[in-house]
Symmetry: C2
Subunit: 337 residues, 2 copies
């Protein structure tokens, strides 16, 4: 059911199994015990960073498929950060599945869940596989400099998470329900600094969150937990201040995936985590556990994406961003399988 | 309604207005009279090819919006070939519309129509704007060499179409119905030659077409017109021969958009047209006219996309491809508004 201009309510969309694979820095972070598979080598035995990222994504998909009882999938949805979505495209040639490639940059996991949840609502589809990945070294060399170059980075820079997350959504009852989605617009407030993506993306997250709250006629403290995707230290401050100012109230239910996945005071990750895997890894570990253990009843995840490339920034352009929100809720007792 | 493993039937999806913008070479081609807007300068008054392509896409969207009576859109879907979908992303920051970015390479128009048509079937959405673009000079410099470099090209190379197409799909009755969609898998038969994309993509088109015919239990001469997206001279021969061999029958209803948009015998376009705009421009001019003038009752468009980038080909990888099919039909008399 559509509510308001941007939001959709779902009655029969559930999160089935999910899996996460993480890299070396993530393994040393606070969520270490929750990841399904942890790399000992960020090359993962491959000869290039790109092939390593492909293997990471494939590992996460295969782990998810090994956990689930579902065997029939209507389609797969996946996206990544690398030019022409090659990570997803090359991995999914290994699976006999109709495929939708998406590009929402670091918002891919919630963009995929938006599309997938709506497609389940057609009742023509029953089970959809959704995944995303990022790798610090593939992103750094594509968007900034090769890591080996050793370029200095300002403290406002975020640190791209190495990892992949995948999940299955289904119309069969499961413990965690996906009850709403709010699709983002493309927002450009004129920032130009690729070393401060958090600040570039915060306005898109603010826009989507305000639209979500407005569509639902609720206040910003309504949910148990509200997470932005990867605004990290700089961007999450902008987000929090903007929401508190707009609603003239303190918010106490907010955090950012980029600040959860790393210990930013003790790990050398600058402003915190970013990349498609950032929100996916936090969702499928930290958020999933909080919901399953009844620590929270609901969580709104607003994953954010910066939609530029280096070429267009060299042409003096600004950085547009987007954010898509998905609401996860603990199922009622009678929903639990 | 889902039919078979890959195909979906729609009861209430219609093609509202559409528009096309084309470049200099396309203007000299056989469809010249059918384009809504023709460039006199492939820079379109901009300082870079990328900004020119953005302006072309925006022009096509604005033309479509100026033609339609629809004013409320649930969302927009768009994708292009340029890294991180920047053409679509930068253009859509100008519109107050929830946005889905897709990447199906040159199959973007049918991939967008697949997603959009299924979303209309939820009955939660009423009107969706879908668009795509390509530009010969942005593609050449990203995927091969800058045009100014003057690198020699083999005859098997395709020529990226400069242009943009956009359309609105709606659940309100219109002359042209979208009655089916068949989503593609990712197919990789091991070709490595970026100068013969047609041959790389043909197997994906064959796979999707066979799946479509099998899901519908019909033979390859069932439709009035079957078009592949941009296989051009090399790939369309592979496609035709493969289908004729598989079904042990001659097919006489087949053509390729890359051979329709140019006069390949008299224009210097090598093997024929390619790029996201290739199938979009042919669909919104040639196919639309044939349907509206009752020359044909139906057309299955199988747009194809090659899903690689230069970096991964330099790592000795092969070229995976995909193809998504959309069935357009002339509405019954009582459907016509």
């Amino acid at each position: 059911m559509k509510i308001g201009k941007y939001s959709y309510k779902f009655n029969n969309v559930y999160l089935d199994q999910s899996s996460t694979v993480c890299g070396l820095i993530e393994k040393e972070g606070p969520l270490s015990n929750l990841f399904d598979y942890k790399l000992d080598d960020n090359y993962f035995g491959e000869k290039s960073w790109e092939k390593a990222e492909m293997k990471i994504l494939k590992k996460s998909i295969d782990l998810t498929l090994s956990k689930t009882k579902i065997t029939n999938f209507d389609l797969a949805i996946s996206g990544d950060l690398i030019n022409q979505n090659i990570i997803s495209n090359y991995v999914y040639r290994n699976y006999d599945l109709p495929f939708i490639g998406i590009f929402g940059a670091c918002s891919n996991i919630t963009l995929g869940l938006f599309i997938g949840s709506n497609l389940l609502e057609t009742k023509n589809m029953n089970n959809i596989l959704i995944s995303t990945s990022s790798h610090n070294s593939t992103s750094e060399r594509q968007f900034r400099y090769p890591v080996e170059y050793g370029g200095a980075r300002p403290e406002s820079a975020t640190f791209t998470v190495t990892g992949a997350g995948s999940c299955i959504i289904t119309n069969q009852k499961r413990d965690i329900k996906i009850t709403q989605a709010t699709l983002g617009k493309i927002i450009d407030v004129g920032t130009k600094d690729p070393y401060n993506m958090g600040a570039a993306m915060a306005p898109a997250a603010v826009e989507t969150y305000i639209n979500h709250l407005s569509d639902n006629k609720i206040d910003p403290n309504y949910y148990d937990l509200v997470l932005t995707g990867d605004l990290s230290n700089e961007g999450s401050k902008v987000f929090k201040e903007s929401i508190e100012t707009y609603y003239n109230t303190k918010i106490n239910n907010y955090n950012d995936c980029g600040l959860i996945i790393y210990d930013i005071n003790n790990q050398n990750v600058f402003s915190g985590g970013s990349g498609c895997a950032c929100s996916a890894l936090v969702l499928f570990t930290y958020v999933r556990d909080l919901l399953l253990n009844n620590k929270i009843k609901n969580c709104l995840l607003i994953a954010t994406g910066a939609l530029m490339n280096p070429l267009i920034l060299n042409q003096k352009e600004t950085i547009p961003s987007t954010a898509t929100a998905i609401l996860f809720e603990r199922g009622d007792l009678d929903d639990i399988s």
